[in-house]
């Protein structure tokens, strides 16, 4: 561990950044010491991402006030290239990959290996293979990013930043889309980098991670820096999740998972012989002959590794899967073939996507318009005209219920912080008053306070007689909230556990393809 | 007419510039009907008012081993290279309707001279109106033939403009020959001149139609002399109704048949008889067969257009 007095490599002084109607950063100061891992935490919308964008030149000089000192000298960046030239690399919260390009092309984008005028393909290949291995992802450098899941994309982003060999590396919620194992792998890489002398800023809502890895912590609330261990000489070792939460939220929080015992009700949804074919290779199945029963009054957790096919299962139920789907779906005793999305919503089955930016939101529409998009047909007069008052009321009600932080309902979705965008997608689906709510990584990028709110909402929905299917790569969440857990491996259900039976080892055992003794 | 026996096996290629204007459709129909009558293999290619497309079509006709090429170019000046290529392959060319310039390889020119049409229009205005306020419209600014028409008309108009007898209220080209554009031009010109207009030079019947709509709106129809050309049915109806003053007939039926006859002669190695008339195309004197354009007015319409069989009486006068 570094010495207390290690020199400060980077200092942000009195940074103030204003957006129309929002004071995102209010005189924030931040110090980063050489070779340390510095955690930056705070509620959704606290200003973490904005601070880092000021630092990296996304918000160029002149668009904020305050000073940036790099090794003691003031610097100003007018674009990303400049901050990169000073050895600063950033992994942004919003994934910034080009879908039609290949993994290799994305990895070296803006940072090509050249040989004279041309790109040195062979060197890029070799480097790509190495770095992909290092971040622990098994995809070909020639694969197209559009074909990758969100978790894989996150790893590509990390690999891309590693290739820049920065002196200061900023990671904005890098583990939000990763499962435990991958996260652990990433944390290990971060520790190595820190040992190599790289200074890192680590933004995360997963407080266990923060505590396990950080050398220092700075906490932001409402655009102000509340405390920083660099100033107070407190060591991180003395910190606990509880007092981080206290600083973040402004009040203590006792409990992480407000699980209540539920009473399982009737059969509401069943799948029979459910088979999904690969969208391009029609001879290959992603899920083969799956059967599944869902009951009202229960939270059904689905655990599994990345790429195990959970998202595909959910999208196939919801009618948005891109390949062929066969099998039967039974709702309230009526059985039929796969449904269209429209029909699903009409029957009260809704799906919260794991990819809020590309699949969840129309970013240039307002908060209000996004929130009502799925129920617009119901908010009409005579089934024809949108009742703007009803619409506004509904939007306001759900935004308040989910504590979405926005200056007005007219704000464009693209201007919300990542976590608030996630809440907005959730608001859209709760507004439907669904009977079966399928959540895919619902708390990705959400702060602890808001997570707790979402769990309470899940409980409320269950009490009203709904069913919730929760796909999540966060084991504590699955274990903490589910009444029943099924574990996925390569498109198959490997285990079906009651809340009481489940523990982390068991779930991981099945998720990695383990088979029960005696049956093997 | 050609002889059935000897015209056997002759392949004549025809390349026309467009099918968007009625006169070329008539050319096409006339030639096709006549060739069928003679039992001649006629290869007809029609471009869509596009020189590059026409160049390709000529190449494609040559690839079909035609014996003679009747070429009615979209742009006469741009067609010398087509003639050159064609003659290099041993295919003689008849320059049809428009005079291909700067090449001496043309076997025969047969046409209604576009500048002559313009001259008729200009002379008509100067004769019937004389001094006064004029609106002058030219055809599409991108169309070389439009320039020729306009230049012809200006031979008569320009001197009177210079002498101050004619006051030009507006002088504009009609983009794409579109009647709607002509309508807007005349509307605006009438506004600018506060309706004090005596004559309108409209380059063809279509644009005249647009101009007349503007006149109607101001109650000036019949009071303003307006030209045209092509003897379109719609224009004939207007001349009968007195809303359009004149048009110019280019009787392409004669031309079409004559072209086929000449082509057959050339294919058989003979020289068509032009009674010694020639025309200078910049590269020398070319044998020429010229058919005079005729001015149509209300007075001679029946005789020139209907009695000659160019149009049916019912087409112009209704049932």
């Amino acid at each position: 561990m570094q010495e207390q007095q290690t020199k400060i490599v980077l200092e942000l002084q009195d940074i103030t950044k204003r957006f129309p109607g929002v004071l995102a950063l209010d005189n924030v100061s931040f110090k980063l010491r050489a070779g340390e891992i510095h955690a930056l935490v705070g509620e959704n919308g606290a200003g973490k991402s904005t601070l880092m964008k000021v630092l990296s030149g996304i918000y160029p000089k002149g668009s904020y006030s305050g000073t940036i000192l790099l090794h003691g000298t003031p610097v100003e960046f007018s674009d990303i290239k400049e901050s990169e030239q000073h050895g600063i690399a950033v992994i942004y919260q919003e994934l910034a990959l080009v879908p039609y390009l290949t993994v290799r092309q994305n990895l070296f984008l803006g940072n090509e290996r050249r040989k004279g005028l041309r790109i040195n393909d062979i060197e890029e290949y070799k480097l790509a293979q190495k770095v992909l291995e290092r971040v622990g992802i098994n995809v070909s450098p020639d694969a197209h990013v559009i074909d990758l899941g969100i978790g894989q994309q996150q790893l590509i982003e990390i690999a891309k930043a590693l290739l820049k060999q920065a002196k200061i590396l900023i990671l904005d919620e890098p583990t939000a889309a990763l499962n435990e194992q991958e996260s652990e792998n990433l944390l290990e890489i971060i520790r190595e980098l820190s040992k190599e002398g790289v200074s890192l800023v680590f933004i995360s809502h997963k407080l266990e991670e923060v505590l396990s890895i950080a050398d220092s912590i700075t906490i932001l609330r409402d655009g102000r820096s509340i405390v920083s261990t660099v100033d107070d000489d407190k060591t991180v070792n003395l910190w606990s999740e509880k007092n981080i939460i206290k600083y973040m939220v402004g009040r203590p929080m006792e409990q992480r998972f407000p699980r209540e015992p539920h009473n399982r009700g009737d059969h509401i949804l069943s799948l029979r012989n459910w088979t999904l074919y690969h969208s391009e290779r029609k001879d290959r199945t992603i899920i083969n002959n799956l059967s599944l029963d869902v009951f009202t009054g229960e939270v059904l957790g689905i655990a599994g590794l990345m790429g195990s096919g959970r998202t595909e299962l959910a999208t196939s139920i919801f009618g948005t899967y891109n390949g062929i789907v066969t099998g039967e779906i039974e709702i309230d005793g009526h059985s039929s073939g796969p449904l269209t999305t429209e029909a699903c919503i009409a029957k009260g089955i809704v799906y919260l996507t794991e990819d809020r930016k590309n699949l969840g939101l129309v970013l240039n529409m307002s908060v209000q318009e996004n929130s009502t998009l799925a129920v617009l047909g119901r908010l009409t007069r005579h089934g024809l005209v949108v009742d703007s008052f009803e619409e506004k009321k509904a939007a306001r009600k759900y935004c308040e219920e989910l504590t979405i932080k926005t200056p007005s309902l007219e704000q464009r979705a693209m201007n919300l912080s990542g976590g608030n965008q996630q809440k907005l997608v959730l608001a859209k689906w709760i507004m439907v008053e669904p009977r079966v709510l399928i959540l895919d990584e619902p708390t990705r990028g959400i702060d602890v306070g808001a997570k707790f709110e979402i769990y309470k909402i899940i409980n409320r929905l269950i009490e009203r007689g709904m069913a919730v299917i929760m796909i999540s790569s966060e084991l504590p969440e699955i274990l903490g909230m589910s009444d029943r857990i099924i574990v996925f491996h390569e498109g198959q259900i490997r285990a079906d556990l009651r809340h009481e039976e489940a523990d982390p080892e068991k779930v991981m055992f099945y998720a990695t393809g383990g088979i029960e003794n005696g049956k093997a | 007419a050609g002889n059935q026996e000897t015209s056997d096996g002759i392949v004549i290629g025809v390349s026309l510039p467009t099918q968007r204007e009625a006169r070329w459709v008539r050319d096409k129909e006339t030639m096709e009907a006549y060739a069928e009558e003679l039992g001649i293999d006629l290869r007809m290619a029609v471009a869509d008012a596009d020189m590059a497309q026409q160049a390709s079509q000529v190449e494609n006709l040559l690839a079909q081993q035609v014996d003679v090429l009747i070429l009615a170019p979209h742009d006469a000046s741009a067609s010398a290279s087509l003639v050159k290529r064609s003659v290099a392959e041993g295919v003689p060319v008849i320059s049809y309707a428009r005079l291909i310039r700067d090449t001496s390889d043309i076997s025969l020119f047969m046409a209604i001279d576009p500048e002559e049409v313009g001259r008729l229009q200009g002379k008509f205005l100067v004769d019937t109106v004389g001094p006064g306020n004029y609106i002058l419209m030219a055809g599409a600014p991108t169309d070389y033939n439009a320039t020729l028409f306009f230049n012809g008309a200006m031979e008569y108009i320009k001197p009177m403009v210079d002498s101050g007898e004619i006051n030009v209220v507006a002088e504009q080209a009609v983009e794409n020959w579109l009647p709607a554009n002509a309508l807007a031009i005349v509307e605006n010109a009438l506004t600018a001149a506060n309706n004090k207009v005596d004559a309108i030079l409209a380059p063809n019947d279509g644009t005249a139609g647009g101009a007349i709509v503007a006149l109607e709106a101001q109650g000036l129809v019949g009071q303003v002399v307006i030209t045209g050309q092509d003897a379109e049915v719609a224009a004939m109806k207007r001349i009968v109704a007195g809303t359009q003053t004149m048009s110019v007939l280019k009787d392409t039926r004669i031309l079409g048949k004559a072209a086929i006859d000449a082509a057959v002669k050339i294919a058989q190695g003979e020289t068509p008889d032009t009674h010694g008339s020639t025309i200078d195309n910049g590269a020398g004197e070319i044998p020429a067969l010229l058919i005079p354009p005729i001015v149509i007015t209300k007075d001679n319409l029946d005789e020139v257009v209907i009695n000659s069989g160019y149009l049916e009486r019912s087409q112009v006068y209704g049932e």
């Binding site: 969840g360 998009l373 008052f389 | 009625a22 605006n188 600018a192 719609a234």
Partner: protein
């Protein structure tokens, strides 16, 4: 939500949200001013104003249709050919088969709807880019048009038909020196506008939504009312309101309504903004896209009817190159060529800007080449001016 700040915020927001339109109005005003000076006042006379409106009508109608197409992220290159074909069908039926105006127009609209359905089918159910489908359509329908007309101009159509493009609302009392019926119409429109605004205002207040302060609301209504009266005053002093402008007015109302007040309209914007998110929200993208093209076909054919009526005839070249004017109008009016943004009123203003430029230069009797050069530059500068004052990213 906070109260004291929020009124100011609302005013600011209202202004900002509508800045695009306001800016366009300012630019239009600037163009008018310049031409008025350059033509020695001729540009801004009742007569030229009426001409200008009539020269705008058919572009405006098609432009309002293409806004939805562009907002949804598509394009339509076949507009010019559809305009020509639909106009020719109507004229053909009337001139050669003596069909009454009403039937002929209905047939033209039907042809437009069928064309729209054809193109919509390929685009939405066969996933072919609209660029290709409508480019093919452009050639295809022009071919059919040439086949039908055989190069002949089809005319004359009946007076009842021409009236749509050339006629005016009749006077009630012919002896009246000003145009009485247009006056009454103006009064009715101003009255209705104010009634609707006030009732909406009160309903907002009843629902406890934030509203403008009463004084500001009053000023806003007053300004709009004065503008309406001023501009229809021109019409009243000349020949009254042309039928084609009444048509434009109705189409504008209907399409503004569709775009902003119906679920369908919202879906169009959602599809253009993020197609996948729209799909994941249960929107039937195919149906919406299909409907957009049917609507486009109908408006293009309506535009063709007005076009034919204006010229009292139909020809093979009608509408050539027209699609570019139409699309340009929509984009000048703020539609984003990549989809997701655009307004009906913007398209209307865009069409008016385009035809003002044409009209002004033609009044100045510029030669065709100089006109083209100026038109290109003015177009560029107008849009630049518009965008730069709004400093979008």
């Amino acid at each position: 939500m906070e109260k004291p700040d929020s009124v100011l915020l609302l005013v600011r927001e209202q202004i900002e949200r509508n800045l695009k339109q306001y800016m366009m109005v300012l630019i239009l005003g600037g163009i008018w001013l310049i031409f008025t000076i350059l033509t020695g006042g001729l540009f801004f006379t009742a007569r030229n104003y009426t001409n200008l409106l009539q020269q705008t009508a058919y572009t405006a109608i098609a432009a309002m249709g293409v806004v939805l197409v562009i907002v949804a992220g598509h394009i339509d290159l076949s507009i010019g050919s559809v305009v020509g074909l639909a106009g020719a069908v109507a004229a053909y039926l009337q001139v050669y088969h003596g069909m009454p105006t009403f039937i002929a127009i209905l047939a033209a609209l039907l042809v437009g709807a069928l064309i729209g359905a054809w193109q919509g089918y390929w685009i939405s159910y066969r996933n072919i880019p609209a660029f290709i489908v409508t480019l093919a359509g452009m050639t295809l329908f022009r071919g059919i048009l040439i086949y039908i007309t055989q190069g002949q101009t089809i005319s004359p159509i009946w007076d009842s038909f021409s009236a749509i493009g050339q006629g005016y609302l009749p006077k009630i009392n012919n002896a009246c020196r000003i145009h009485d019926s247009t006056l009454y119409l103006t009064v009715v429109v101003v009255f209705l506008y104010n009634i609707l605004q006030v009732s909406f205002y009160l309903r907002k207040q009843r629902n406890l939504l934030i509203t403008l302060p009463g004084a500001l609301q009053f000023i806003k209504q007053l300004l709009v009312s004065i503008a309406i009266i001023f501009f229809s005053g021109f019409l009243i002093l000349y020949r009254g309101i042309p039928y084609s402008i009444i048509l434009v007015f109705f189409v504008a109302l209907l399409y503004s309504f569709i775009a902003t007040k119906t679920p369908f309209g919202r879906y169009v914007y959602a599809i253009g903004g993020n197609r996948e998110a729209a799909r994941y929200s249960g929107i039937n993208i195919r149906k919406v896209n299909f409907s957009i093209f049917v609507s486009m076909g109908i408006l293009a054919s309506l535009s063709g009817v007005v076009f034919t009526a204006r010229l009292s005839s139909a020809a093979a070249s009608t509408g050539q190159g027209f699609e570019l004017d139409v699309i340009a109008s929509a984009i000048i009016g703020g539609a984003n060529p990549l989809g997701g943004e655009g307004t009906i009123i913007g398209a209307l203003l865009g069409a008016l800007i385009m035809s003002s430029i044409n009209n002004g230069m033609s009044l100045m009797n510029m030669s065709a080449d100089i006109q083209m050069i100026c038109k290109g530059l003015v177009l560029l500068i107008a849009v630049w001016f518009d965008l730069s004052t709004k400093n979008r990213k």
